[in-house]
């Protein structure tokens, strides 16, 4: 078992999401036209939690969608491929303010794929990006608008976000790869 170091506890995650939820409403001056679109797998529960927070303090419902970027990746032949799971975005994205939600921002390639996937669903007025962890090492010009925590990391380290809905508990851990 490689050694694990806890970067964010359940309380840290809760506070970070509450702050991001407030930042989203402040930056967009309300919730008019907002849509959260989570990247499968763990971006989706994060997007739902952000919408839930906003409902609590603004009393308004922000729609939440799920985006599968598998078919938009740029490395189809380069690795084992994940299952195609299907996108489920319940609203028309035309002229909406879309906020992409993902757990970890790393090279930026997933977000590049997500931008293509979103554009195929409609022409949003704008697209913003919220991530729980930004670990650096960008390979593309991608910049998040909302960040839970910046974690300077080495490429041989692995950062795992665990969420109640998927993994049974909330935490972000750093593991050093054994190679």
């Amino acid at each position: 078992m490689p050694a694990e170091k806890v970067l964010l506890t359940a309380d840290d995650i809760r506070r970070a999401l509450t702050r991001i939820a407030h930042e989203v409403v402040e930056r967009n001056r309300g919730v008019e036209g907002l849509v959260f679109v989570g990247l499968l797998t763990r971006g989706v529960p994060l997007a739902r939690r952000l919408a839930e927070r906003i409902r609590e303090f603004e009393g308004a419902a922000v729609p939440v969608g799920a985006l599968d970027i598998t078919l938009y990746r740029d490395d189809l032949s380069a690795r084992q491929k994940p299952v195609v799971r299907g996108t489920d975005v319940p609203v028309d994205l035309a002229d909406k303010r879309v906020i992409l939600v993902d757990d970890v921002l790393f090279t930026g390639r997933s977000i590049r794929a997500a931008l293509d996937a979103v554009m195929d669903l409609g022409r949003p007025q704008s697209v913003q990006l919220a991530v729980l962890v930004d670990r650096g090492h960008r390979e593309l010009p991608v910049r998040p608008d909302y960040v839970g925590k910046n974690v300077p990391s080495s490429r041989t380290e692995d950062i795992q976000v665990r969420l109640q809905e998927v993994d049974g508990k909330d935490e972000v851990v750093l593991t050093r790869s054994e190679e």
Partner: protein, 330 residues
Amino acid sequence: MRAVQTREQPQAVLPRRHILDLNDFTREEIETVFRTTDGMKEILTRQIKKVPTLRGKTVLTLFYEASTRTRVSFEQAGKILGADVINLTTSTSSVVKGESLVDTGRTLQAVRADVIVIRHASAGAPYLLAQHLQCSVVNAGDGAHAHPTQALLDLYTIREKLGRIEGLKVAIVGDILYSRVARSNLWGLSTMGARVVLCGPPPLLPAGFPPPADAVVAGGPALPPVTVETDVDRALDGADVVMALRIQHERMKGGLLPSMTEYARRYQVTEERMARAKPGALVLHPGPMNEGVEISPDVAHGTQSVIQEQVTNGVAVRMALLYLLCAREA
């Protein structure tokens, strides 16, 4: 490096280069096709139904026999996934100058086709091609032998509508002798746990059918367990799914049936006969239909018919297969 990011994601792997028949498909492989198809169906519902997944891949359809839905469906599947699709019609190709199948295949491989989809009147033609080529070969129908992508879309449609395949009674009615659809479905349905009843007039049932339970071919069973029934009412009794097959005039070399009228009277799938099947039973037909021969128009276009859904699902299933074949190339 990328593996670090995606380590925990489930993998969709079809451990084969070619799709020739379903006789050696495992249940897990069929489930993988189903899951991938679920994801592909959503794309068909979009306003802009196009994704860039297979950009730079070439799918080539090589049809030595007529086809509407299979060829169009492969072309549509490839194009929606962003592949380039080339359709070769043999009547305007060097095939008319006598070029052999293998030479044609080598030529198509040399122009860098990634997947060749072939339909041929001779059973085994796709196997011959697969032996000689490095690219993927998909059997889109070879003689009376196999039509695996049709069977997969039939299986998918049944699962989608009834929620399962395991334990269902499926009656396949009509021209069993010449039906590659029936042969591939027989393997797929029994692998997924359905009970298959084949029904047709004796001249349209293969000789020596069913084979003895212990018959083997090349180490495997010659056929999955199957019941044969010449009485259509008994075949349909309590069925969950009724699959009507086309009477294939073009393959019949005379004298097998006294007349189409006689066949229709004895074996046509009608509303009256459907009353023997379970309430809500599905009606499938691989098309093209001879309405009024193997199926009555009111059944073909009635509420139990899923014939149009089969065509739509055919596109999604072929998208899944092209994706799984192309993505396995490292």
